[in-house]
């Protein structure tokens, strides 16, 4: 069913919110004029509810089916977490209320921080980053601040080593922190080439940014050796923690020699993805970096909890590098993550990693004879295949992905990581049942066999069952239409 834009459902004068007449007062707007018509449409509540309900029905979601999107960790989002985040004691408190009136909020942040530090074995955590990439920024700023503190502001350590297979955010973050990026190649096992890495180390290297488990779904076997080499070179070790889901409770990053790692609360600790955000990306820090944190942060003293909001505060480390966002962090996400963490506990979180890895390896084992795994040996939380099994079929990874949609599945991550050709990166997560995985495997095998049997048309025309068939992305970018304009303006513009 077609659903017009809200702008096309305008009933002028209608509103979905009844507000009383404003009191008559003498305006205090100084020299600013009151504005005229803005152009917003008028709709009643029933129309708005129906509109967004119908839009929602055009979406795929974890709630509606398996979502094997590699590196995104689309796991179940418990409803308890949503309920608790809406307790007025959290949702209805102002960030600048007197600290005595928000002790419970500060306690919650402190409790979550304690869990994150203990699970990673790290002594400090910066809670305010708003997302994973923001956490990367925070970690790299911390590293640069530490280097400048150690070497003086004149430090020439500006080179950051980043594997080829890194998330695109890694190089972008390094650049945003004023670093230059130097790529490290992968070896034939899908891991960082340690020799190449060591060769690149030098006294101009500030840090390495490594993802572990890496974007091929593999554990970097030589990580301790790498850490030692990096530290020996006077540099720091940043770990992209996007895949912490795979090892939580089974490995503490501190034991691997990591100096800074962000944690995507929306991946490992299941705060909802919400169609693209909001996220939350706290960064755990090693002893060497622990003082180099952003403002603000929570401390616990004899009068209870308080916030250190500026460097003049008596509890300040004296080495804070600045502020990353407004106020104190993604409180709503903290509540959800803590609720998830307390629900699982130390034993359950360990089970999370075990089941995530088990599920991925089960998918890998069940598909390896009909698809082509990119690397040998067990994977961690995601299974990587490439498109060699499609060779000669006329079907691309993209075509295959679109055909999955018609079978009721969201596509896996495709064409990433870049180290293999036509990648299929499949992450089932620990919240899928065996029954669910078996159904998925049946479909994937069926499609693989169908492709090999020569039925390319089935794939090229897919998806067929969706509200829209394939969309013209090239056309969209060539002449961008980024907002609705009234028809009359559209016509005028065309003339």
């Amino acid at each position: 069913l077609e659903e017009p834009l809200i702008f096309e459902q305008d009933s002028p004068g209608t509103t979905g919110v009844d507000l009383p007449e404003p009191a008559v007062v003498k305006s205090r707007l100084g020299k600013v004029r009151e504005r005229g018509r803005i152009g917003l449409p008028g709709l009643s509540e029933p129309e708005v509810i129906r509109h967004y309900t119908r839009l929602s029905q055009k979406n795929f979601a974890i709630d509606s089916g398996l979502y094997p999107l590699g590196s995104c960790t689309m796991k179940h989002n418990p409803r308890l977490n949503e309920k608790l985040a809406r307790l007025p004691g959290f949702s209805d408190i102002h960030p600048l209320q007197p600290e005595r009136t928000v002790q419970g909020a500060l306690e919650l942040i402190d409790t979550l921080a304690h869990w994150l530090k203990t699970l990673t074995g790290m002594p400090a955590v910066a809670m305010s980053p708003a997302a994973g990439a923001h956490g990367e920024l925070c970690g790299m700023m911390s590293i640069r601040a530490a280097i400048e503190d150690r070497d003086g502001g004149t430090s020439q350590r500006r080179r950051v080593l980043v594997p080829e297979s890194a998330h695109g955010t890694n190089p972008a973050t390094a650049a945003a922190c004023g670093f230059t990026v130097d790529a490290i190649p992968a070896d034939e096992t899908g891991r960082v080439d340690v020799g190449a890495l060591k060769a690149k180390l030098g006294d101009d290297v500030a840090a390495i940014m490594l993802t572990n488990p890496n974007t091929c779904g593999l554990f970097e076997r030589d990580i301790v050796e790498i850490a030692e080499a990096v530290h020996a070179a006077g540099a720091y070790f940043y770990c992209d923690g996007a895949n912490f889901n795979a090892i939580v409770g089974r490995v503490r990053p501190a034991d691997l020699g990591i100096d800074a790692m962000h944690i995507n609360l929306h991946k490992t600790f299941s705060t909802p993805h919400g169609g693209g955000g909001p996220g939350s990306g706290p960064v755990v820090l090693s002893e060497a970096l622990a003082k180099f944190v952003p403002l603000p942060y929570v401390v616990h003293g004899k009068d209870g909890f308080s916030l250190v909001e500026n460097g003049a505060d008596e509890d300040s480390t004296g080495k804070e590098f600045g502020r990353l966002k407004g106020f104190h962090g993604q409180m709503g996400m903290f509540v959800r993550a803590l609720s998830y963490i307390l629900s699982h506990g130390a034993d359950g979180l360990r089970q999370v990693a075990s089941d995530a890895v088990l599920n991925a390896n089960y998918v890998m084992a069940s598909l390896k004879d009909v698809m082509t795994p990119s690397f040998e040996g067990p994977c961690m939380h995601e299974a990587l295949f490439d498109d060699r099994f499609l060779k000669g079929t006329g079907v691309t990874t993209l075509d295959f992905a679109k055909a999955m949609i018609d079978e009721g599945y969201h596509p896996m991550t495709m064409y990433f990581p870049l180290v293999v050709h036509g990648a299929f990166l499949i992450e089932p997560t620990e919240t899928e049942s065996k029954q669910s995985l078996d159904a998925f495997i049946r479909v994937m095998r069926g499609l693989a066999e169908r492709a090999k049997a020569g039925d390319a048309d089935h794939f090229l025309g897919a998806p067929r069952m969706t509200p829209r068939r394939r969309l013209d992305e090239t056309g969209a970018a060539r002449k961008p239409v980024l907002r609705w304009v009234p028809e009359v303006e559209q016509r005028e513009a065309a003339e």
């Binding site: 509103t15 507000l19 404003p22 009191a23 707007l29 100084g30 020299k31 004029r33 009151e34 504005r35 803005i38 917003l40 509540e45 967004y52 309900t53 055009k58 979406n59 989002n77 608790l84 004691g89 959290f90 949702s91 209805d92 102002h94 960030p95 209320q97 409790t111 708003a130 997302a131 923001h134 700023m141 695109g168 972008a172 945003a176 990580i223 301790v224 089974r250 691997l256 993805h273 919400g274 169609g275 693209g276 590098f321 407004g326 106020f327 962090g329 996400m333 609720s339 359950g348 390896n361 969201h410 969706t466 509200p467 829209r468 394939r470 013209d472 970018a477 961008p480 980024l482 907002r483």
Partner: protein, 449 residues
């Protein structure tokens, strides 16, 4: 455990399929020294829903919910009434548990609301285009400065003394690491600063907040002309987006980039986050924009549809050459914004703004009548600065003990500046009743006496 579907029997059978004896063997690539053989010490074991609810609710109960007392805090976060329909809709699993809409065929719902969001933001700011949101107002502000640097190929930003200190600080942090200059005018409670005088030929942009941090509303038309005359861009920051329902839009005043905190529409206070950063600009700067963009297109059958577009600006394609490292937007908060704004519509949004202004005027009149209270802001929207005859932080603490959240002491954001210590920011919205205002007035009277 309730979120983990695998049974022991499943695990055994799956291990057999994989051909390994135990899950431990799947972790064989982990260096042995780092393998933990049991749950981490000192952390609690799993707990049932009722038990977790008790633990977390106990923490919530230690906070004073703003809605439970007369509350007048603003300074960049505002308590508004959000219709129940908003929260109902954003909790639909199809929105809540969906990912970034990279697969457009199965995410037309998300894409269409983002397109509606972009249009709403462009309309209310008076700009041509908007992105699909950033983290919050403060980070949007910093991104805007960096965008201005790119667009002008300059690297000196001039910040108003009326800019929210958090916006200033986030911009300064980025400046330190990204490598550009920031010139900040002194705190400007009276609203008398002359920003144009700070602009030179190396200036990439001027950032001014309207209404200002201290409350004043300004006509920025002349400033825009002065800034443009130097080849720089005017960035207007809006910390209270409801003001756009009443004030001439930044676009009409000549802004090149508008950033705003969108929390007021659709989103609860949430102790400061998650919020939603709005970001709008002129058509000509589109390709310099940070953040995600939804664009209109057609499908294979020629039907209108939406996709994420211009992603060549973004980090997952451009990597270190991206316009920003930002990869997440504030999707669900943007959805809440979009739904609330759709409910308000032209009529409701304007009226909401007028009510807010009227409430603030009423409150200002009431406080003005008190001894020891002086209204500093000569103009304002729904928040203004008052000078007290005692340090504002102490007054606020005393009010809190009396069950009144009386405002934000300026010293909370300008610590150590004695000249500002007696200033209090007071905001009023449609949620404040006459009884609330009376409570504040009599509370202040008592504390100041």
């Amino acid at each position: 455990m309730r979120y983990l579907p695998l049974t022991e029997a499943d695990r055994k059978s799956m291990l057999a399929t994989i051909g390994v004896p135990s899950v431990d063997s799947l972790f064989r690539d982990v260096p042995e020294s780092a393998r933990l053989s049991s749950p981490i010490d000192g952390l609690a074991p799993h707990a049932g829903e009722m038990e977790v609810e008790r633990m977390v609710a106990a923490m919530a109960a230690k906070n004073v919910a703003a809605g439970s007392v007369p509350s007048f805090l603003g300074a960049g976060a505002y308590r508004h009434h959000v219709p129940a329909a908003v929260d109902h809709l954003i909790q639909r699993g199809e929105f809540l548990t969906s990912y970034t809409p990279y697969q457009p065929e199965v995410t037309q719902g998300t894409l269409q609301y983002l397109f509606e969001f972009q249009t709403q933001v462009a309309l209310i700011t008076g700009m041509d285009v908007a992105n699909a949101s950033l983290y919050d107002g403060a980070t949007s502000c910093a991104e805007a400065v960096m965008m201005a640097n790119r667009a002008t190929r300059r690297s000196r930003a001039v910040l108003s003394g009326g800019l929210h200190p958090h916006y200033r600080d986030v911009t300064a942090t980025n400046a330190r690491f990204h490598g550009f200059e920031v010139v900040t005018a002194p705190a400007d409670p009276e609203g008398g600063e002359d920003l144009a005088a700070l602009v030179d030929d190396k200036t990439s942009c001027v950032v001014v907040q309207n209404p200002g941090f201290f409350g004043q509303v300004r006509d920025l038309t002349e400033l825009a002309a002065a800034v443009h005359a130097k080849g720089a861009l005017l960035i207007v920051a809006v910390a209270e987006v409801v003001s756009l329902g009443l004030l001439t839009s930044p676009g009409e005043m000549g802004a090149d980039i508008v950033v705003a905190e969108g929390q007021s529409i659709g989103n609860a206070l949430n102790f400061g986050g998650p919020y939603v950063g709005l970001f709008a600009t002129r058509d000509k700067y589109v390709r310099h924009m940070p953040g995600r963009l939804t664009g209109q297109t057609v499908d294979a059958e020629g039907r209108r549809g939406w996709v994420l577009t211009l992603s060549t600006r973004e980090q997952h394609i451009r990597r270190e050459k991206a316009t920003s490292n930002i990869c997440t937007n504030s999707g669900l908060c943007a959805l809440a914004f979009t739904i609330h704004m759709s409910l308000l519509g032209e009529e409701g949004f304007g009226r909401l703004a007028r009510i807010n202004h009227a409430k603030a005027v009423q409150l200002a009149d009431r406080l003005d009548a008190l001894k020891g209270v002086e209204i500093v802001s000569d103009s304002f929207f729904n928040e203004f600065t008052v000078r007290l005859k005692k340090p504002a932080a102490k007054v606020v603490n005393k009010l809190a003990k009396a069950g009144i959240l009386g405002g934000v002491p300026v010293s909370r954001l300008y610590p150590g500046d004695e000249a500002l210590a007696d200033l209090l920011l007071v905001a009023a919205t449609e949620t404040n009743t006459d009884a609330d205002m009376e409570a504040l007035a009599s509370g202040l009277k008592e504390v100041l006496s």
